[in-house]
């Protein structure tokens, strides 16, 4: 059993891989250059043969995909926010000036972001999977083996991001594999390959983190002080994400949890209290038969 939380330099070694495993691979999704084309969604569906999951006009801006799920492994979120701040005095250069100006939509600040499985350092789905269907790959990613999964659904309730889900007509759990098959052939995952603006960047996680830090510094320098990295911190509640983001607003605006924590972080406390309670039940049993009264 590997470590349950905190920073982890070598997630593959923690999972039992030899020292000569490949580097940890991941995604850096820079939402500041996302144009909402959904090429990632289409490429993912096509390459991974992910089935259709219905078409619904939601009224949520251009987002008819709605959310990540068993049959949606990339999801582009669209947020329309009024760019004009009414009455709140601010200091410094106008916020988001380049964002609204660049889109040409005066009065609307349009956020677009392609969401994906985070391939957590400490993955709740993997921790709780009772069959071993979910496993850590040699690239440090988290993948479901469909031939092992028995559809218990525990992973669904253990993901702090709401990524993995059961496919209703199939019964098993599915999610992004970070194109495990393509990685094994040294190729780029389909979504990153299809992305026309390099919003989705694929590479070695260490290198992506450096690149993201540089990009963040550059944006801050240009006055985009709303830019922040999400899932970049190896000391966060999931030990950092293998797929992390540059966002232009609070995470919850994009439907992301502001401070996700892997449920197994409290595993020790969970089992300890179960132990106490089991002892209490055994004690009740003994007590019920001791004493004079019938």
């Amino acid at each position: 059993m590997g470590s349950l939380w905190g920073g982890l330099d070598d997630v593959q070694a923690d999972a039992g891989y030899d020292a000569d495993h490949p580097p940890r691979m991941g995604f850096f999704t820079d939402t500041s250059v996302c144009i909402g084309c959904k090429a990632c969604e289409v490429a993912c569906k096509e390459w991974n043969d992910v089935p259709d999951d219905g078409y619904l006009l939601t009224g949520m801006s251009y987002d008819n995909t709605q959310e990540l799920g068993a049959s949606t492994w990339r999801h582009v979120a669209f947020v329309e926010k009024p760019a004009v701040d009414l009455g709140m005095p601010t200091v410094g250069p106008p916020r988001d000036a380049d964002q609204s100006a660049a889109s040409g939509d005066a009065g609307i600040r349009w956020l677009m972001s392609s969401d994906v499985c985070k391939h957590c350092t400490h993955a709740g789905c993997l921790d709780v999977c009772p069959t071993g269907a979910l496993f850590r790959t040699e690239f440090g990613t988290v993948v479901v083996q469909p031939d092992v999964c028995n559809g218990c659904g525990y992973c669904v309730s253990a993901c702090p991001y709401g990524v993995i889900d059961l496919r209703k007509d199939d019964g098993r759990a599915f999610k992004c594999t970070l194109c495990y098959d393509r990685l094994k052939d040294g190729q780029t995952p389909a979504c990153a390959q299809a992305c026309p603006t390099e919003s989705i960047q694929f590479g070695e996680l260490d290198e992506l983190r450096e690149r993201a830090d540089r990009r963040l510094a550059e944006l801050h320098e240009r006055g985009v002080d709303v830019a922040r990295l999400y899932g970049r911190d190896p000391e966060d509640g999931v030990g950092g994400d293998g797929a992390f983001f540059l966002l232009l607003d609070e995470p919850e605006v994009y439907g992301l949890p502001p401070d996700p924590v892997v449920p197994t972080r409290t595993l020790g406390s969970v089992w300890k209290h179960v132990g106490y309670a089991a002892a209490a039940v055994a004690g009740l049993g003994v007590a019920a038969f001791s004493g004079r009264r019938r």
């Binding site: 947020v79 069959t131 999964c149 702090p160 197994t264 039940v281 019920a288 004493g291 009264r293």
Partner: protein, 312 residues
């Protein structure tokens, strides 16, 4: 105490993506899973009662509790397998043993418990292999308390706010509720002169259950709200009142009136079932509303001073 009449927490301001939930709603089905939570508690605690009954020479109590342990485990296993998306693959549960997965650990409690309690009951009913049957019964009695309580780890080790935040109390709720159900069932079916231990177990279990459940419900803030409002709130209140009424009846009339004992026992069982549905539904409600995910996380970040968290 205006509990349950209105949300305990004033409406909080928070942002979301079109009001959509962040975590997924648990895919576990109703009634399969809440029923399994109940049956595991009933079976586990019945196995404890059965061993006591055998040791203290109470044949009627032993017969009823052995059958309850075996029947509860069998029915619970059916419910659990039925809940799977691929029921034919239920044996994959035994491929690996993972301490990080309460469902894995639980499978390795439930499987031997079912076999042992079934063997003990079969031996007791048929009179065949009495010594092996007793031995099996002892094994079931040892596995009983973990079976009754591990299900709390199952719920606690999720990101579902109402369950995760109650992970310290839930094992005692489930253990107490299981003892109450096992004692209650025996009170229904066993003559008064042999039902003393069942009464005491039900009374003590009910006290533990009420104390633990109330300590969740009486907590301030958003953590307790899913247990207080809507359908789960109603279920939790019905269960608590039923349990309290059954305890009062047991204390006053349980040793004297066969009818009162049976009615109180049935009430205990019904209240135990209701508790499980209440806790299960509270979890689902807390998953569906992004408020229960976002606001506590925001508060946690604020407590950490907001600095250095998002590596801006």
């Amino acid at each position: 105490m205006a509990r349950g009449e209105a949300p305990m927490v004033p409406d909080v301001e928070f942002e979301s993506y079109y009001g959509r939930q962040i975590i997924k709603t648990p895919t576990w089905k109703t009634p399969d899973v809440p029923l399994y939570l109940f049956l595991g508690g009933l079976a586990g605690c019945s196995a404890v009662l059965a061993e006591g009954a055998a040791l203290s020479g109470r044949p009627e109590l032993e017969r009823v509790t052995r059958l309850a342990a075996a029947g509860g485990a069998a029915a619970g296993t059916v419910a659990l397998v039925h809940d799977l998306g691929r029921p034919e693959r239920f044996l994959n549960m035994l491929r690996v043993l993972k301490p990080t997965s309460p469902l894995s650990v639980g499978s390795f409690i439930l499987a031997p418990f079912s076999a042992l309690s079934g063997a003990a009951a079969a031996s007791h009913v048929t009179g065949l292999l009495p010594r092996l049957g007793r031995l099996a019964g002892v094994g079931a009695g040892v596995l009983g308390p973990p079976l009754a309580t591990y299900t709390a780890a199952l719920l606690g080790n999720t990101v579902v706010p109402a369950w995760h935040e109650a992970h310290r109390e839930l094992p005692f709720v489930f253990g107490g509720s299981g003892a109450q159900a096992a004692g209650g069932l025996a009170m229904m079916l066993v003559p008064l002169d042999q039902a003393g231990p069942a009464r005491r177990m039900a009374l003590a279990g009910a006290a533990v259950e009420i104390a633990a459940a109330e300590s969740i419900v009486l907590r301030r803030g958003l953590v307790a709200e899913p247990y207080q409002v809507g359908t789960p709130g109603r279920l939790m209140r019905i269960a608590r009142n039923g349990t309290a009424a059954a305890s009062a009846a047991t204390l006053l009339l349980g040793r004297r009136s066969r009818l009162a004992s049976a009615v109180a026992g049935a009430t205990y069982v019904a209240a135990s079932v209701t508790t499980r549905f209440g806790i299960f539904e509270a979890g689902l409600a807390s998953a569906r509303d992004p408020k229960y995910t976002v606001v506590p996380q925001r508060e946690r970040l604020a407590r950490q001073d907001g600095s250095a968290k998002m590596s801006r």
